[in-house]
């Protein structure tokens, strides 16, 4: 059944989009991530322009992280103070990202920047995740306990001034790295149409030593608010948010996520991280391939919006 998307200006098969929402939702529920880094490329693949895809996926991620955030809220696994601190910088990062998005689009280099950023981000993060989980797996085989959090061990981040205490997470860190992480996540979220959960969670664990009990819940709250505001900002500046597309994706996404969560709970943490690392790395390589291999058509057309 075809449905016409008013902003993307093309008809799509409603079941195809719904199925994509389900599949990405399943993966996002399984790994506790937003899934934007999968959804945006998929939408581009079926013919939706990168700009509309990025802008519309933001609201889809907002919906799936909202479900997650509510679940974690009930379990009291959200550090509100930490989320608010990350957010204050995240909003600025998002605004900056939306601005740069508009500028790059006018320069005809948006697709290139999206492609390059995906390659860099996904291959590095994917490789790190594979490395970490393989090491943990090997250690577990040898009978050594897998320790992610080393209490007492401090890095340079802990030497910075402006220290704050976050009670729920039981950490005492400087506000500077918190703001830095918030800004980076907000910025890349807006420009790449990704929630940034797969980046935020490792950053919070490695830099701030946030315990696993609160890290996912807190990350979801941050993702929810940055993506909801990215939706509003994209709608105001670029008028590219396709609400019909977003609605179909959201419905598929929230349903798929429920099944993903159940599957994820049956798997061991290291195995799960290895799978996610492989997935992230594969998507990165797919983008690299696209940039390096000669395109089928050297020419492309873009509509210039006249004021």
């Amino acid at each position: 059944m075809q449905i016409y998307l008013p902003i993307a200006d093309l008809p799509v098969n409603i079941f195809l989009v719904l199925g994509m929402g389900l599949a990405v939702g399943f993966i996002s529920g399984m790994f506790g991530i937003g899934g934007g880094f999968l959804m945006t490329p998929l939408l581009i693949f079926i013919g939706i322009s990168p700009a509309v895809a990025v802008a519309s996926v933001a609201s889809h991620i907002a919906a799936s992280s909202c479900t997650g955030a509510i679940t974690y809220w009930r379990r009291r696994a959200i550090d509100v103070a930490l989320a608010m601190m990350l957010l204050s910088a995240g909003i600025i990062g998002t605004a900056f990202g939306v601005w740069l998005f508009t500028e790059l689009r006018a320069l005809d280099q948006l697709d290139l920047v999206i492609g390059l950023s995906y390659v860099t981000l996904l291959s590095i993060v994917g490789a790190l995740m594979i490395y970490e989980s393989v090491r943990a797996e090997l250690r577990a085989r040898k009978g050594m306990p897998a320790t992610l959090r080393r209490p007492g061990s401090h890095n340079w981040v802990h030497g910075l001034p402006l220290k704050m205490r976050f009670k729920r997470s039981k950490i005492y860190v400087s506000a500077i790295p918190v703001w830095g992480i918030g800004f980076v996540i907000g910025f890349i979220g807006a420009i790449l149409g990704i929630g940034g959960g797969f980046l935020l969670v490792p950053m919070l664990i490695y830099f701030l030593r946030v315990p696993t009990a609160t890290v996912i819940g807190t990350s979801m709250v941050l993702t929810l608010i940055t993506m909801a505001s990215a939706t509003v900002m994209h709608a105001v500046t670029n008028h590219l948010v396709d609400a019909i597309l977003a609605l179909i994706l959201m419905i598929g996404g929230v349903i798929g996520a429920q099944f993903g969560v159940r599957t994820g709970q049956k798997m061991r943490g290291e195995r799960l991280r290895l799978l996610l690392g492989l997935l992230v790395f594969a998507v990165g390589m797919r983008f690299a391939y696209q940039l390096v291999v000669m395109p089928d058509d050297l020419y492309s057309i873009r509509q210039v919006t006249e004021q």
Binding site: H60, R74, L247, V254
Partner: protein
């Protein structure tokens, strides 16, 4: 006096060469003057019917007519970009801006336009994709380039690929020597707006009659509402979309609650 009259004639008919005899009259009718783009819109096939009638001087109709129908969509400014390899990756390096060119263009005839009129007349009347005026921004000027300009060729090729540009020499069918039928395909990705239709009648390599008609492509219902809201009320639209996301997220957490 005669000189002045000749001058007036030249000014009036200059662009069209010799003043057409206009011994014939064209009467056309479109199967549908309004096409509504709804959520189930997958394109449409329009039919234009027409009759060739004797003109005011009641001259007899000729035996061989040719018809060229040109339908254009609302003007749009588009950029054609070319990728080149830079440091191993493919980057948009060069581009040309096509200023206010038709977003949709169909040139339909009963036989190849090359056989209908000579190149000179085709250029003056913009008959055929090769001679259709596609204005590019060249420095401070706006002009059409040579036909084989690589950006022009790529632009026409891509627009044809998307189904937006089309030249067909079999879309016009003469049912009788003076009654014709034109099949106009409208793909699903057509932009909304007004589509002028220019119908030109040729005989013996000369244009003998011309008439126009218009098609309106409009978005209706939810589609129009969404487009209007997003263009004119970006903030409210964005806020509503975000709110929708929150509601769906909350709804899912209630429905699937397991504790």
């Amino acid at each position: 006096m005669t000189f002045a009259r000749a001058l007036i004639l030249l000014v009036l008919f200059g662009p069209f060469g010799a003043p057409p005899a206009m011994a014939e009259r064209l009467v056309v009718s479109l199967s549908n003057n309004r096409v509504a783009v709804t959520s189930s819109f997958v394109g449409e096939n329009l039919v234009l019917f027409g009759v060739i009638e004797p003109g005011p001087d009641h001259a007899a109709l000729r035996s061989n007519y040719d018809l060229v129908v040109t339908m254009t969509g609302p003007p749009e400014t588009m950029r054609t970009r070319r990728k080149e390899r830079v440091l191993g990756i493919w980057v948009n390096i060069d581009w040309r801006e096509f200023v206010r060119v038709p977003s949709y263009l169909s040139i339909l005839s009963n036989r190849p336009v090359e056989d209908i009129a000579d190149a000179d007349l085709r250029r003056r009347l913009q008959v055929g994709l090769d001679y259709f005026l596609l204005t590019q921004r060249i420095g401070p000027d706006i002009a059409d380039t040579v036909r084989d300009d690589p950006f022009r060729v790529a632009f026409v090729r891509l627009q044809t690929l998307y189904g937006l540009y089309r030249q067909s020499s079999s879309a016009v069918t003469f049912l009788t020597p003076s009654v014709f039928r034109v099949a106009i395909p409208l793909p699903s990705n057509v932009p909304t707006g007004s589509y002028p239709i220019d119908v030109k009648l040729f005989s013996g390599g000369q244009m003998v009659a011309r008439t126009t008609s218009t098609l309106d492509v409009i978005k209706t219902g939810v589609e129009q509402y969404v487009v209007d809201a997003s263009r004119n009320y970006g903030l409210i639209y964005g806020a509503a979309t975000s709110l929708m996301a929150l509601l769906i997220g909350w709804f899912a957490s209630v429905v699937f609650r397991r504790d």
